[in-house]
């Protein structure tokens, strides 16, 4: 344990070496789960974090299967062979203790867990969501705000924002800073890997990267109320040039600008909001939300057995 901690930290980008093997990941697990046609989800990762998460998941599964399969076979064999009707099985009514067996019985799980403990220790540190993905270029900064019931994505360096739609350059690490202006949510793009909570009054961080252009399904994975089912979005990874072009289009476009007043309108409850973009965003907005200078969303107006009067403006 101390050796791991003392060792100079391995950089996460080395882990992206695993990513090359990511199509294999799906193929390796396929026979186990009879998954023949899976084209999304965590078994078909499209970025280094997802690939490494998936690999560790698979490693843990393989380590355990090495012991679980023989155990299940032995259990079923004993249950079958020692059935009362089998006259060939030897009845040993007093066999209730064996020091040697006891040793094995304790040793097998302990050894497995020792091994797995190492995987857990290294995995937790290497794949800590806060750990930056190394890059020669600049990572893309994205500020994420979960609202009732939609996602607001702020691009502070570009000065734009989007709702329920995330456009990013492929092959560039993305640094997410996440908060919630309402109840708790969790930000998750299954094909890119790790999820993390978006919590009110707090900022969590997450590093992800898409290796290939494509459209990736994203969702909230922490139940947040009646509109929860509609809290999904598309994460579109595009070549860098296309990303810059898209930013330019949004900036010059006719979309609304997101200032404090507009934000107060946005944070009211709404469901299944169609994706749209803001051509400009107040640079102080995210900080104001996290410090509660801009108060959290107002919540619902009425429920059965509890009329809460709030005027709608």
């Amino acid at each position: 344990m101390t050796r791991n901690a003392a060792r100079p930290r391995r950089r996460t980008h080395e882990l992206s070496g695993y990513a090359a093997g990511c199509p294999r990941l799906a193929m390796r697990i396929a026979p186990l789960l009879i998954l023949t046609a899976c084209h999304d989800g965590v078994l078909d990762p499209r970025g280094p974090i997802g690939a490494s998460d998936g690999l560790i998941m698979l490693n843990a599964l393989e380590i355990m299967l090495a012991i679980v399969i023989p155990t299940l076979v032995a259990a079923l064999f004993f249950a079958w062979w020692f059935r009362a009707s089998n006259t060939r099985a030897r009845y040993r009514p007093h066999f209730a203790y064996s020091g040697r067996l006891e040793l094995i019985v304790w040793a097998i799980p302990i050894l497995v867990i020792l091994f797995l403990g190492g995987v857990i220790w290294i995995g937790s540190h290497e794949l800590d969501p806060y750990k930056p993905i190394e890059t020669r270029g600049q990572p893309l900064e994205v500020q994420v705000v979960s609202l009732d019931w939609k996602w607001l994505f702020i691009y502070p360096d570009q000065g734009i924002a989007t709702v329920n739609q995330l456009v990013v350059p492929a092959d560039v690490p993305i640094h997410f800073s996440l908060t919630s202006a309402t109840v708790m949510n969790a930000f998750f793009v299954p094909q890119l890997g790790s999820m993390i909570y978006a919590m009110n009054g707090m900022v969590s961080q997450l590093w992800l990267q898409a290796n290939h252009p494509g459209n990736y399904f994203g969702e909230s994975t922490q139940f947040s109320g009646d509109g929860f089912s509609g809290m999904h979005f598309v994460m579109r990874a595009v070549p860098s040039a296309d990303f810059n072009a898209w930013v330019g289009t949004v900036q010059r476009g006719s979309g609304p600008a997101l200032d404090w007043a507009e934000y107060r309108h946005l944070e009211k409850e709404s469901q299944h909001v169609r994706p749209f973009a803001y051509r400009a965003v107040d640079p102080s907005l995210f900080r104001a939300i996290t410090t509660l200078s801009l108060p959290p969303g107002p919540g619902p107006r009425v429920e059965r057995g509890g009329a809460v009067e709030r005027s709608e403006d």
């Binding site: 995995g123 993390i196 994975t221």
Partner: protein
């Protein structure tokens, strides 16, 4: 006058809860009318509702558990059918209704089905296995049961009066705060659990005391059956963990009722404090449920293998190990909070360490079967089904304990499949094994084997058909609690799970039919010996059903398997032990204290939910008066004369003598 309660609270505009509620109400009313008309009420009141007999209370717990299991299963059917229909469509349940259903499903299944099932088994079995007459505090025991029933009642009232929580089975703030959930749903949740939680805590106190202080002569700790050990561990966990739940819900109640800011989204509240606290109770809770189930298997497998449990001391050590470590793992329920590598790794490793204790148990059950002569009666089928299912569920659990894997699987249907895998495969299979195993002890006749086996196979296959597809859906990124979705690749797996739950429905129907058929044909299923399974522990040495005092003379325990020794001696010597010198027996008097206290607790809870403050005061004062009256009682016990004890026990001895004669003829034992 009536607080927030108005006619608007009744969902006249929603046919589903209204019809469901009416059907339930009419059924209950019909039963009550039938009972009164037939003149059964005095009997019911005298022998059951006011009973402080641990066996009767155990049976009532089981009845409550089975009824609530049915209610929770109906919720499950609605959830599976909604998701099957809600691909690119709204389905038939709007979010505000669907959210209540999954919240109620979880709450009911954990608190009012699984908990009463395990506590019911402990109630019935533990004093019998310890060779004693009752638990330490019989009237308290009755009160515990009725307070649990109060909680179940309040949750079910919410079906037609107001609404239930829409926040999930654990009401995470700030969603559960007044601001985001102004309805009474969360209040129903809080007060149902606060009241039943007091009952559960009292059960814990009662059983820890019983097991530590009240055992038959010679029943040292290392001679207690494994079930008693697991009951001790589970009740120690109750005593340590339930106050945490009570305190957490009290803080949430202060937030909602008095505008405190423990967990609010403003004024310094911290939502993650709630999440930490609730799981500091929540993770021990799963071991409170599963440890007694482990105990059931540790009784069933030796009995039907015809040999003692393998590695008794290891079993005890593993039980206590799990009991202790279960308090150090709660953070694995929210690795995705972003606590950092050190914290996540520590809790991940602690979590996988629990698997050591469970692994040891699995191997010991295997080696108990090894060298045995296994009879496949229904309880044994459930046990083998459990070993297979629980190993798989444990494995997916350890996968979730690996933080990077959890970062992708947290809150997904993979997680849902995992905890159903261990709770159905562990707790429910254990409950069903225990019910079939001890049913003849409680009622004097066996459950029908054919229907029991059919129930096992349908439930076993139905479980895999329902939850294996959910594992896959989870790996495809499908999160839990979705009222509708539009991802095409999830749809076939959701449909498969929907088909699977229909197999479970057939399994459940088989169990209902099994009980009905067994009651109708009880005379041919009758067990006269008191020992239908060739049992090994003390409960099989007394009559079925046992007399109120359990044992005419307290047994003198001389080994780990006292009854097995007695039986062997009887067969070897071809005679029963000499007739003991019968003495009069003092037993606790029945008391309506529990029932009446719970009646006022129900009123208090309902009034708190609807802010009817005068009624709150009335309920609390009345409940306190009931307690004071009980405390001032003059006579607390009644005496069963020696002659009556002798008459009852001689009947048992006659049955045993007859049994011994048949065994002399067969002469194949040992």
């Amino acid at each position: 006058m009536l607080g927030k309660l108005t006619w608007q609270a009744i969902p006249f505009d929603q046919p589903i809860p209204l019809v469901a509620g009416s059907v339930v109400f009419l059924t209950v009313a019909a039963i009550v009318i039938w009972v009164v008309a037939k003149g059964h009420l005095p009997y019911l009141w005298r022998e059951w509702l006011t009973s402080v007999d641990h066996k009767r209370i155990g049976v009532m717990y089981m009845l409550l558990a089975l009824v609530m299991l049915l209610r929770g299963f109906i919720d499950a059917l609605m959830m599976r059918s909604q998701q099957a229909l809600a691909f690119n469509a709204p389905g038939y349940l709007p979010p505000e209704h669907y959210d209540q259903i999954f919240s109620a499903h979880g709450t009911i299944m954990i608190f009012f089905a699984a908990m009463p099932m395990m506590i019911g088994l402990m109630n019935f079995v533990v004093p019998l296995q310890l060779g004693v007459r009752d638990v330490a505090f019989p009237t308290l025991n009755s009160t515990s049961f009725w307070l649990t029933a109060t909680g179940a009642l309040l949750v079910n009232i919410s079906l037609v009066v107001g609404e239930f929580a829409r926040t999930g089975w654990l009401p995470y703030p700030p969603l559960a705060e007044l601001k985001y959930t102004p309805g009474v749903g969360v209040d129903y949740y809080i007060w149902a659990l606060q009241i039943s939680g007091v009952g559960t805590l009292l059960t814990g106190v009662n059983f820890v005391t019983t097991i530590l202080k009240i055992r038959a002569p010679g029943m040292s700790y290392m001679r207690m059956p494994v079930f008693c050990w697991t009951a001790l561990a589970a009740n120690l966990l109750i005593v340590a963990a339930f106050p945490v739940l009570t305190a957490t819900l009290a803080m949430l109640a202060l937030d909602r009722y008095l505008g405190f800011h423990f967990f609010s989204d403003t004024a310094g509240g911290n939502q993650m404090m709630f999440v930490n606290l609730i799981w500091a109770w929540g993770h021990p809770e799963v071991y409170i449920l599963v440890l007694p189930a482990f105990g059931v298997f540790s009784e069933v497998i030796p009995t039907f293998s015809g040999k003692p449990i393998f590695g008794y001391r290891s079993m005890v050590a593993a039980t206590l190990f799990i009991c202790l470590v279960s308090f150090t793992v709660w953070l694995h329920h929210f690795f995705t909070m972003g606590a950092g590598g050190d914290v996540n790794a520590a809790f991940g490793i602690a979590t996988s360490i629990i698997a050591v204790g469970t692994g040891v148990k699995i191997y010991n059950w295997m080696f108990t079967m090894y060298g045995g002569r296994i009879r496949y009666d229904t309880p044994m089928l459930w046990s083998v089904g459990f070993i297979v299912t629980f190993v798989i569920g444990g494995m997916t659990g350890v996968m979730l304990a690996v933080p990077p894997a959890d970062f992708e699987l947290h809150n997904s249907l993979f997680l849902v499949a995992h905890f159903h895998n261990v709770i159905i495969g562990g707790v429910l299979f254990g409950g069903f094994a225990g019910i079939t195993y001890w049913f003849p002890k409680a009622f004097g006749f066996r459950l029908h084997e054919g229907w029991g086996k059919a129930a096992f196979w349908f439930n076993f296959v139905g479980f895999y058909a329902t939850f294996m597809p959910l594992y896959v859906a989870g790996l495809l990124g499908m999160t839990r609690r979705l009222q509708s979705y539009d991802v095409a690749s999830w749809h076939p797996w959701v449909l498969a799970a929907g088909a699977g739950v229909l197999i479970l429905l057939v399994g459940g129907a088989c169990q209902v039919i099994q009980i009905v058929v067994s009651i109708l044909r009880r005379d041919e299923l009758r067990d006269e010996t008191g020992d239908p399974w060739d049992g090994r522990s003390l409960e099989w040495s007394t009559a079925s059903p046992p007399p109120a005092f359990n044992y005419a003379v307290l047994p003198n325990v001389q080994g780990e398997e006292p009854y097995w020794e007695i039986k062997r001696r009887a067969i070897e010597t071809q005679q029963l032990a000499a007739e003991p010198d019968y003495q009069p027996i003092e037993m606790p008097r029945n008391s309506p204290t529990g029932f009446i206290t719970a009646f006022f607790a129900t009123i208090t809870g309902f009034a708190l939910i609807w802010h009817i403050w005068w009624m709150v005061g009335l309920g609390i004062v009345a409940a306190y008066i009931v307690f004071v009256i009980f405390a001032w009682r003059d006579v607390e016990e009644y005496e069963i004369p020696a002659a009556e004890v002798a008459a009852i026990d001689r009947e048992r001895r006659a049955a045993r003598a007859q049994w011994l004669a048949t065994h002399a003829r067969v002469g194949e034992q040992v």
